[in-house]
Subunit: 305 residues, 2 copies
């Protein structure tokens, strides 16, 4: 198959590169730990050559398109945020070229006002999801769980508004740097079934407590000291509290069940939590990042069907 | 004045020692960075001698009483938690002696059940506050802001129930280890007036947003990127969000305005936040820890008026 595009998902910690053929099909792919925070002296040309050099040598006329933190102020070239409401054409017309290369960078999205918010990378997954499931454009709701979970409302094929929950980062800093991580540092990891039960107990605690996770956070320690929670499961319970709080807060304002986009294991965890909120059937979209890069490249004329 | 008691407030990071005379008046005092997490090999006898040795040499018959994390599982001798409801006599009858010394340790308090909770050190401040303001015993509400803020409901002179908010620790880990600390690491500190305004803006954001701080946390970054918050003030805004969330949650279930106990600067910050919730006159009790150690020693017969 003849390659038509080099597509890069270039985030904080890793660089995922795809060689795409007709219809956006993946011909080759690789993932390297070359995220922008791992590159010394902001010399981004070096990892770009290391990862895409062979492809470009073989097919010198290929365009390349990158999304993610590579377009941030700390990245290669800053791609200023596009403002809401934003559709795929708004993004495609705002790509920023990297001088001296055939690479373009996708801008992130900016929501202004009191509910100011930003995303960078997720916009590409969103437009990928819309390519895969165009019917979501009318009134769809999306969740992209992760370090900074994004909850996105679509209208008229555009991103209408979104919220950010720092669930993944909160979990990591509490595990690694707070007293709540202390118990799990000693002893064996729990049995998977016990871990899942502790997770669901955390979700339920928030749900029954009216979404007030700030008051419950310390219970991940206190329940252990009171002999009511296995120390080995304290982090699973904490994860349940945090994801439960995210769901309690976000679902309150939602008009429809959201569709999940993201890492498979993390989506499974969210699916489990959703079930406690009465949402047993939550759809999931895979391959959204690649589909989004492809769709944006088409809209921008960097590739053709 | 003749000394009657050595009183120690011995926490995680520091050891505060007081030589008390008649009526619990402070004759001498010192504070050393000899908290239990700073002591190698759990050799607590060494800092105890360093800080109280001279006093004990001069007055060999003095008793000593310590409260705080020195009585935890990681401390010198574990003082098992007393259960709620707990009054000063319940505590005084549950002191744990340190073998080979004239030192006793005050137990912490344990709340069991779904709202399991623990405190260690704060119980002494609470009984000190009750000594200073006995009228609080009937139906008083106390707040002890800090790393782990405690909100305490009193009834019939006893601790009836309490909640913990990890506000101080959350702020510290987010500042030091999350993306939210990034902006404040560069540039000048803000003007105090700007810092206070940003703090109050954070409090108001939570109050207007119905207490949902989890959804607002990321705004401490997004507002800066949107050009709507001075990066130098981002941590003050974050502090406002976290303290605002604590107040929104805790005040919802409270029957009366609480009385503040704790560090003066921190109490001033809470007082400012309280004013945004319509509580302009919040009382404050000083010297609660020393008063509590004295009251407990009297109740246990370790000292006499």
């Amino acid at each position: 198959m003849t390659p038509t595009l080099i597509a890069l998902d270039w985030g904080t910690s890793s660089l995922r590169a795809y060689l795409l053929g007709a219809g956006g099909l993946v011909i080759e792919e690789c993932t390297e730990p070359l995220g922008i925070m791992k590159i010394a002296d902001r010399n981004f040309a070096a990892p770009y050559d290391a990862v895409t050099g062979d492809w470009r040598a073989r097919w010198p006329h290929l365009n390349a398109l990158a999304s993610g933190m590579i377009g941030s102020a700390q990245g290669w070239v800053e791609a200023p945020y596009a403002r809401l409401p934003a559709g795929i054409d708004d993004i495609a017309h705002a790509l920023v070229p990297v001088p001296g290369t055939s690479l373009h960078i996708v801008p992130g999205l900016l929501q202004t006002g009191d509910a100011a918010n930003v995303m960078r990378g997720e916009e590409t997954q969103i437009f990928g999801a819309l390519k895969i499931a165009p019917e979501l454009g009318a009134r769809g709701e999306l969740v992209l769980p992760g370090t900074h979970s994004k909850w996105v409302s679509l209208a008229k094929g555009k991103v209408a508004r979104f919220e950010t929950y720092m669930t993944g980062e909160l979990f990591a800093v509490l595990r690694d740097h707070s007293i709540l991580g202390a118990f799990a540092k000693t002893g064996e990891p729990p049995h998977p079934r016990d871990a899942e039960n502790a997770f669901l107990r955390g979700v339920d605690a928030v749900r029954n407590g009216d979404g007030r996770a700030d008051q419950l956070l310390f219970s991940a320690r206190a329940l252990v000291l009171a002999g009511e929670l296995d120390p080995a499961c304290s982090l699973d319970y904490l994860s349940g509290l945090l994801i439960g709080a995210e769901l309690a807060s976000a679902l309150e304002e939602r008009r429809a069940a959201p569709v999940l986009i993201g890492d498979k294991a993390l989506c499974a965890r969210y699916r489990l939590a959703f079930s406690r909120f009465g949402l047993d059937k939550v759809d999931e979209i895979e391959g959204a990042a690649v589909a989004g890069l492809w769709a944006i490249a088409l809209a921008a004329g960097l590739a053709s069907q």
